[in-house]
């Protein structure tokens, strides 16, 4: 056993010791950038200094051998400095343009795709899934690997009308977040309660308070304190499961995948938007989830074909309208896609703006 040691509460480390020298020198003094080729950013400072950043995709859940391999490449070509992006891409900064091509060569040879810049499909933001979370309906790293295999060429090229961000989430909590296209597990049946365990494992008032539709009531079952769910009210959100695992919400058959589009965080052009659900009921089908890939690709390639340059998916749908989106992507628009949660009337069409 380790000895008791008082932690050094240092918080966020200072990044200056880790910054590439060109970044440190020109901190806050950048003038503009361009992209000489997919995967490479070229930044020019007011001082006249230039720096090239080469971006590569990673598997995010990396073993130490992979990380050491990336370090070897950084030591050889990139002066020993790297940074990671929010989508788990790695960036190598280079102040000598002659090193860019050899760096790209070394990354490619080691199996790290170079891309993810500009109008590409970047690496998918993802969650933990079966590898580590305690409430997942599906896996995350595997689903992302399968999908990125399919979208590989869209990562290494900049062929989309605008950038495309994807995310996946293995339960409705949606740690993966908002995205142009998001894939999220949806539970379709109310939780199955193991009444023998509830009294020991769950703080009942806390569980009752979690439910967004007040479907959970305390109850006596077989003489023991437990909980019951009004199944007609239940919207299968799964919020009761984390604080009360005997209320099992995941089901090998009935936990399905849903697809959402049009989320955008940036304020560019329009205000930021939430993503909207456009498909549901897809089977949870490891190890490659082909039914999900098929719909994601259909949406992605319809967008690629139909959108104008600089239109994000949200901008594109705003121009063509939702009826045409469903038509073009060959997706059925069902009554379940009409919002009936709080504030839902804001999502209805209160105008005669209709495209024929």
């Amino acid at each position: 056993m380790a000895t008791m040691r008082t932690p050094i509460e240092s918080g966020v480390p200072d990044n200056r010791p880790y910054l590439h020298p060109a970044l440190l020198k020109n901190y806050g003094n950048w003038r503009y950038h361009d992209r000489p080729r997919p995967g490479v950013l070229h930044h020019v400072s007011h001082s006249g200094d230039e720096v090239w950043s080469v971006r590569a995709g990673t598997q995010r859940q990396m073993d130490v051998y992979t990380i050491r391999k990336l370090c070897d490449i950084a030591d050889t070509y990139a002066e020993g400095h790297v940074r990671f992006t929010i989508r788990s891409n790695i960036e190598f900064m280079v102040s000598d343009p002659a090193k860019v091509d050899p760096l790209i060569g070394a990354l490619t040879e080691a199996g790290f795709p170079v891309g993810g810049t500009g109008n590409s499909v970047s690496m998918i933001a993802h969650t933990q899934g079966w590898l580590h979370c305690d409430i997942p309906g599906t896996d995350a790293s595997g689903a992302v690997k399968a999908l990125m295999d399919d979208l590989y060429t869209e990562f290494i090229k900049e062929d989309m009308p605008n950038r495309v961000h994807l995310s996946t989430s293995c339960c409705e909590i949606n740690c993966g977040g908002q995205a142009d296209i998001a894939i999220i597990v949806q539970h379709t049946k109310p939780p199955k309660i193991n009444h023998d365990l509830v009294a020991n494992v769950c703080e009942r008032p806390a569980v009752v308070a979690r439910c967004p539709v007040a479907a959970i009531r305390p109850a006596l079952v077989n003489g023991k304190p437990s909980l019951e769910v009004d199944e007609k009210k239940c919207i299968c959100c799964g919020a009761c499961y984390p604080p009360c695992p005997p209320m099992q919400i995941n089901d090998p058959e009935y936990s399905k995948l849903a697809i959402w589009v049009g989320g955008k965080n940036s304020n560019a052009r329009g205000k930021p938007t939430f993503m909207k659900m456009v498909a549901s009921g897809l089977p949870n089908n490891p190890p490659r989830w082909p039914e999900v890939s098929e719909i994601v690709k259909k949406i992605l390639y319809t967008y690629k074909e139909d959108a104008r340059s600089w239109e994000r998916i949200a901008d594109w749908v705003e121009r063509i309208g939702w009826p045409r989106f469903f038509e073009k992507c060959d997706l059925p628009f069902t009554k379940y896609l009409i919002d009936d949660w709080r504030g839902s009337r804001a999502n209805l069409n209160a105008s005669t703006h209709i495209r024929f």
């Binding site: 008082t6 932690p7 050094i8 509460e9 966020v12 480390p13 200072d14 990044n15 590439h20 970044l23 901190y27 806050g28 950048w30 003038r31 950038h33 930044h43 950043s53 598997q59 995010r60 859940q61 073993d63 130490v64 051998y65 992979t66 370090c71 030591d75 400095h81 790297v82 940074r83 992006t85 929010i86 788990s88 790695i90 900064m93 199996g111 795709p113 899934g129 079966w130 580590h132 979370c133 305690d134 997942p136 896996d139 595997g142 690997k145 409705e172 977040g177 919020a239 695992p245 995941n250 936990s255 965080n265 940036s266 304020n267 930021p272 939430f274 949870n284 600089w310 709080r342 504030g343």
Partner: protein
């Protein structure tokens, strides 16, 4: 000495294809770690049965109440013994990254060595809240691993009802759009709340995120309780050399269809050089000998579009700072919420400015700690009590930039109206 690998036909399929495979990484680790052999056994079982097998528990490090995510296997045989005993415990350490997620190879190699010695050897750069996730350690190794990482200069992040780990964009380090020193703001704010990170005692989680401009690369507006998004309030700067270069490369159609007509407030005008207006809010730049762009900055909403398309030719102003938005979050419980503007512009230039940002964060956290219900996020609290009560609680004056529109319903007591009008007019003339 590693034991025999379990059959993993489904995981094996994830080794084919061009994208880097985490399964190949797991297998490499399993060559000398029984721990990882059994981890793969359990993961394969999940792929086969479509069920997860981890449950939480309590594991921590001395002195801290959070930051370690405990995982114990629930995959047991009929005698209640773990089916994959070597991986019966698989805890994760959430570790705070340097601002902007910069590293050198020396520190990465040291992290690898520590995690190879005490943990599984599997590291995620990074989790969705920004933590470096050191994934997979047994209970009796957690303290050792933490001690070494801690001595290397790293600290645990947040978990549970606490201030959470934060993220800041690359910003000033390498981005011409940066409107403040994101790393400085990130460190100064978060390091004020270390006690609230390490000893969870808030009603629920609280996230800060820092983006240097309205492109919001850190997704702060939808994913943080307090989003600090850089912006500027003076005129956009221009650079004729870069503007002409852009126009030569892209031409008139792109200029009209992709810059001018995509401006959300129709602020950019294309004019003949001789007709370009002058004035205190006007920016203009020649794109050729005959034509120029004219922008009335009083109508620009700093959306970033034109600045993104014509980088350098059009650029942010010099009076820079941030817009603060509060209350973003995802669905549970009342539905998705975006952050709401509570401070339209906070200058971020001087030491005092950064202190003012920290002070604002402190007021918001204090108000949240006192007024939120258990398991209620800041955005939900604001919806329950109303924005005005929240603003009064944190001592911030109202501003029309906080709303999309004024109210549309009359159901409100207006008997304080005259006093408010008098107060606001007095303030204006003061």
């Amino acid at each position: 000495m590693a034991k025999k690998m379990h059959d993993t036909p489904m995981l094996d399929q994830l080794e084919s294809g061009p994208w880097p495979s985490f399964v190949t990484g797991l297998k490499r680790l399993a060559k000398d770690k029984d721990y990882m052999v059994d981890l793969m056994g359990q993961l394969e079982t999940s792929y086969r049965t479509k069920k997860g097998y981890w449950k939480g528990g309590t594991v921590g490090v001395f002195g801290y109440g959070g930051g370690v995510i405990p995982r114990f296997t629930e995959l047991k045989d009929e005698n209640d013994k773990p089916v994959f005993p070597d991986a019966a415990e698989f805890h994760t350490l959430r570790v705070q990254p340097p601002a902007g997620m910069h590293y050198n190879t020396e520190v990465l190699r040291k992290m690898c060595d520590i995690w190879e010695r005490h943990g599984s050897g599997l590291i995620a750069f990074h989790g969705q809240s920004g933590d470096i996730m050191f994934q997979g350690a047994k209970t009796d190794k957690v303290q050792d691993a933490f001690d070494e990482l801690n001595e290397l200069g790293f600290d645990l992040g947040g978990a549970g009802p606490a201030v959470r780990t934060s993220m800041s964009c690359v910003g000033a380090a390498r981005c011409e759009q940066s409107c403040y020193d994101e790393a400085k703001a990130h460190r100064q704010v978060i390091n004020t709340f270390l006690d609230d990170i390490h000893r969870p005692a808030l009603p629920y989680k609280f996230k800060f995120k820092f983006s240097g401009c309205p492109n919001d690369c850190m997704n702060s507006i939808q994913r943080s309780d307090m989003a600090v998004i850089g912006t500027w309030r003076d005129n956009m700067r221009t650079d004729e050399g870069l503007a002409r270069k852009w126009f030569d490369a892209h031409g008139m159609n792109e200029l009209v269809n992709n810059v001018i007509s995509r401006c959300p407030t129709k602020t950019i005008l294309l004019k003949e050089v001789k007709d370009v207006a002058q004035g205190p809010t006007i920016s203009s730049v020649k794109i050729s000998d005959s034509h120029a762009l004219e922008i009335d900055n009083s109508n620009c909403v700093r959306c970033m579009h034109c600045v993104n398309v014509m980088t350098g030719a059009l650029a942010k102003g010099t009076d820079t700072g941030a817009t603060i938005l509060i209350g973003g979050k995802r669905t549970l419980k009342i539905g998705d919420l975006m952050g709401t503007v509570v401070v339209p512009f906070l200058p971020l230039k001087t030491e005092e400015d950064y202190e003012a940002l920290v002070e604002l964060g402190q007021k918001v956290i204090d108000f949240f700690a006192e007024n939120a219900l258990e398991h209620e996020r800041t955005g939900e609290m604001i919806e329950r009590i109303g924005l005005v009560n929240f603003l009064e609680g944190i001592g911030v004056d109202i501003d029309p930039n906080m709303v999309a529109t004024p109210r549309t319903n009359p159901y409100v007591r207006m008997d304080g109206w005259d006093d408010e009008v008098a107060r606001i007019n007095a303030k204006k003339t003061a």
